[in-house]
Symmetry: C2
C-alpha cells in the first residue's frame, strides 16, 4: 500500500464545526515552530491570555487555552472543581448537557439532572426548584449554546441564580464564544470553557478556559488530588503563569497556539459587538432563505443561536443523500442531526469567518437545487 501526501479539497464548512478557517489563521499556523520555553513564545502566550480575556469579557487572571479539544476543556473544569461526593446540578437539553453529567459521575460526584426538551433552553424555574431541593449542591453546570440543537440558554440569569445560592457555575461556551454575547464577569460565571473551531474560526484542537477567583479558591482548597495529571490546573498554572520562570508541564501545541492568537487578533480588530452583529445579520439572511424553501427551525425564535441553525428535514427527503450531494457537487458541508435529532434535522453553521454573505448565498442556492 503506497500512501502519498494528503491534499484535501477546499470545502465550505457550514456544519456545527470545524467552521471555515480564516486564511490568515492558516498562514499563522504554518509559521516556523519555536520552542515552547522560548522567551518569544512566552511573550506570545502572554498576549494570548490578554486576547482570551477580551473574548471572554473577563479580568480573570487564569484564562488560558487547554492543549486539547473542547471536550477536554469540559473535562478540565469538572476534574478540577468536582471532588468525590460533591453534588452538581446538571442541566441537560442536548448532547453536551449529557456529556457534563458523564463527567460529574466519572469524577465521583453526584449529578442532579434538570431535564429540558431538546431544542428548548434550560428552564430557569426548574433550576430554581432543583436548588431548593438540593441546597447542598456545590455547582450548577449548564450549556450556554447547545451545539446539538442550536438553542441558547440564559447564562446571565443562571449565573445570578447560582451566586444567590453560593454555588459555582461551570458553563459550556464552546459554540457561543465570539458568536453571541458572553460576558463572563458581568454574568458572574466561574469556570467557562470553549473551543477553537467554532466562532473563533481557528483550527480544531484547543480549548480556551477561564476561571473566576472563586473557582481558583475551590481548586486551591481541594482535599483530594485531581484525578488527571494532564488536566491538573494547579500544575498547568506553573507554565502559563505570568510571573518569573515558566516551569515545564507538557509540550505546548506551538503552531496551534499561533493560529489561536491570530484568530483572536482578528476578533479584537473586528470588535466583539461587530462580530455578534454580523452573526445575527447573516442568520436573518439565512433564515429568510430557508423559510422560503419551506424549512422550519427546531428552536423557537427567541432562543435561536444565529451561528447554529437547526432545521427539520422536509418530508420524504433522504438525509444522507442530500448532504453527500452538497459535499460532492458543491464542496459544501452542512451538519447532520445529533442524538435525538439524528435523521430528523440538519445543522447549518454560520460561525466566525463562515458568517459571510457568500456562504449564505451558496448554501441557499445549493439547497434549493438539491431539494428540487
Amino acid at each position: 500500500m503506497t500512501i502519498s501526501s494528503f491534499v484535501p479539497p477546499h470545502r465550505t464548512l457550514m456544519g456545527p464545526g470545524p467552521s471555515d478557517i480564516y486564511p490568515q489563521v492558516l498562514q499563522a499556523l504554518s509559521r516556523p515552530t519555536i520552542g515552547h520555553l522560548d522567551p518569544l513564545f512566552i511573550g506570545m502566550m502572554d498576549e494570548l491570555k490578554e486576547l482570551l480575556k477580551y473574548a471572554f469579557q473577563t479580568q480573570n487572571d487564569f484564562t488560558i487555552a487547554v492543549s486539547a479539544p473542547g471536550s477536554a476543556g469540559m473535562e478540565t473544569c469538572f476534574v478540577n472543581l468536582v471532588e468525590p461526593g460533591d453534588k452538581v446540578i446538571v442541566c441537560r437539553n442536548g448532547v453536551f448537557g449529557e456529556r457534563m453529567r458523564e463527567n460529574v459521575v466519572r469524577c465521583g460526584g453526584e449529578a442532579i439532572v434538570v431535564e429540558d426538551d431538546w431544542g428548548t433552553p434550560v428552564s430557569v424555574s426548574k433550576v430554581e426548584q432543583a436548588i431548593a431541593q438540593h441546597p447542598d449542591a456545590k455547582i450548577l453546570a449548564f450549556v450556554h449554546a447547545e451545539t446539538s440543537t442550536g438553542a441558547v440558554s440564559d447564562a446571565k440569569t443562571l449565573g445570578a441564580l447560582a451566586k444567590q445560592h453560593d454555588m459555582l457555575t461551570i458553563v459550556d461556551a464552546v459554540t457561543s464564544l465570539g458568536g453571541v454575547p458572553l460576558l463572563v464577569d458581568e454574568w458572574q460565571l466561574d469556570a467557562v470553557y470553549s473551543g477553537s473551531q467554532k466562532c473563533l474560526s481557528c483550527v480544531p484542537g484547543l480549548s480556551p478556559v477561564t476561571y473566576s477567583p472563586a473557582a481558583i479558591e475551590v481548586i486551591k482548597s481541594r482535599k483530594t488530588t485531581v484525578q488527571s495529571w494532564f488536566l491538573d490546573q494547579s500544575l498547568v498554572l506553573g507554565y502559563w503563569s505570568g510571573d518569573g520562570k515558566r516551569s515545564y508541564h507538557h509540550t505546548a501545541p506551538v503552531n496551534s497556539l499561533y493560529a489561536l492568537h491570530e484568530s483572536l487578533v482578528l476578533l479584537k480588530n473586528e470588535g466583539l459587538e461587530n462580530a455578534w452583529q454580523r452573526h445575527k445579520d447573516m442568520h436573518l439572511l439565512l433564515r429568510e432563505g430557508l423559510e422560503k424553501l419551506g424549512l422550519s427551525f427546531v428552536v423557537e425564535e427567541q432562543s435561536r443561536l444565529p451561528q447554529l441553525n437547526a432545521v427539520y428535514l422536509p418530508e420524504g427527503v433522504d438525509d444522507a443523500a442530500v448532504r453527500t450531494q452538497l459535499l460532492e457537487e458543491y464542496n459544501l458541508e452542512i451538519g447532520a442531526g445529533l442524538g435525538a435529532l439524528a435523521g430528523k434535522a440538519w445543522r447549518i453553521g454560520l460561525m466566525g469567518y463562515g458568517a459571510r454573505r457568500e456562504n449564505v448565498a451558496l448554501c441557499l442556492k445549493a439547497l434549493e437545487t438539491v431539494l428540487k
Copy 2:
C-alpha cells in the same frame, strides 16, 4: 495594549523537542480544513493508522493518535489499563518515570517503584527482583528513551520479562519512535505511546498510541469506568474504527493530523532503518565535536540515545547565559537540564529532520565560539 500578528523567527531547534519540523509538514499543516466526519478525512485517518503501524512496527489494529500531547498519551495508557487497587511496577530513572508513577497513583493504583540513577538505563535485574517480590503486579511500566537524561533502556528484554510473568507493559516511546529501533510486536509490548514533536518532526500536540490485543482485552474487561471521558479508548474507538459509520466523539484536530500524516509519509519514504542509521551517524559526528570541545556525556556509551545528547556543563560556565547567547546570536535552541540535571547539563537534540549535517555543524561552531 495593541496586539498584532505573531511572526516568529526561524530557529534551529536542537533541544529535547519540539524538534525542527519538516518544511513539507508545515505545508501540510496549513492545507484547507475539512470536516472531521468528511469521507475524505476518514480516508486520511485510515492511511494514518497504516503509517503509524509501520512506524511502531506493529500489526495492532488499535493504533491511533490521541488528540493531545505526549503527556496525554501517557495518561491515556494508564487510565485505560489501570483500575483502582491494581499493582503497577514503575521504573524510574528520570522525569518521565516519575510522571508514570504519578499517573498510577491518580488512577487509584499501587505503584511499586524500581529506582535507577538518572542517566542510567532501567536495571533488568532490579525489575526481576521487583516482580519476584510482587508476583501479583499487573503491569510493568517503563520509559524506553528517557528524554530527561538521554538514556535508552532495553525494551526488548523488559517486554519479554513481563510476558514471562503474564504482565502487561506500558512503554513511553515519546523520544524513541523514529529515532532508534522500536519493534512493538517483536518485543511483545502492550501499550506504547509517543509524541509527534520528537523524531517524527511533526508539530507538537499529538500522541501516537498502539495497543496489543492483550491490552485491548484488559480494557474491554474492566470492572470500573475509565475516569476520563476524553481519554476513554472504548469511546474513541468508535470514531477511529475502520468498519462502517464513524460515531462522533470529539472534534479531531484536523490540521495537526494532516501534518502527522505527512511526517509519517516522509518517514516511510526514507525507511525506518535509514532513519535510525541517520540518527546514529549524526550523533557520532556531534559526539566527536563535543568531545573536542571538552564536553563529556551524562550517559555511558552503550546506553546513549543518538537523538538526545546530554552533556555536562564545563566548569564555571553560566548555563542560562550560554543558552541565551546561542538563541539570540545564532537562533539556535539547545535544551536545559531537567530535574536532577537542571543547571548541570545541556540536552542537545538530533531528532527527525533535525538530525542533519548542517545542524551538527551549526551547533558545534556556535558552541565553540560561545564557550571560548
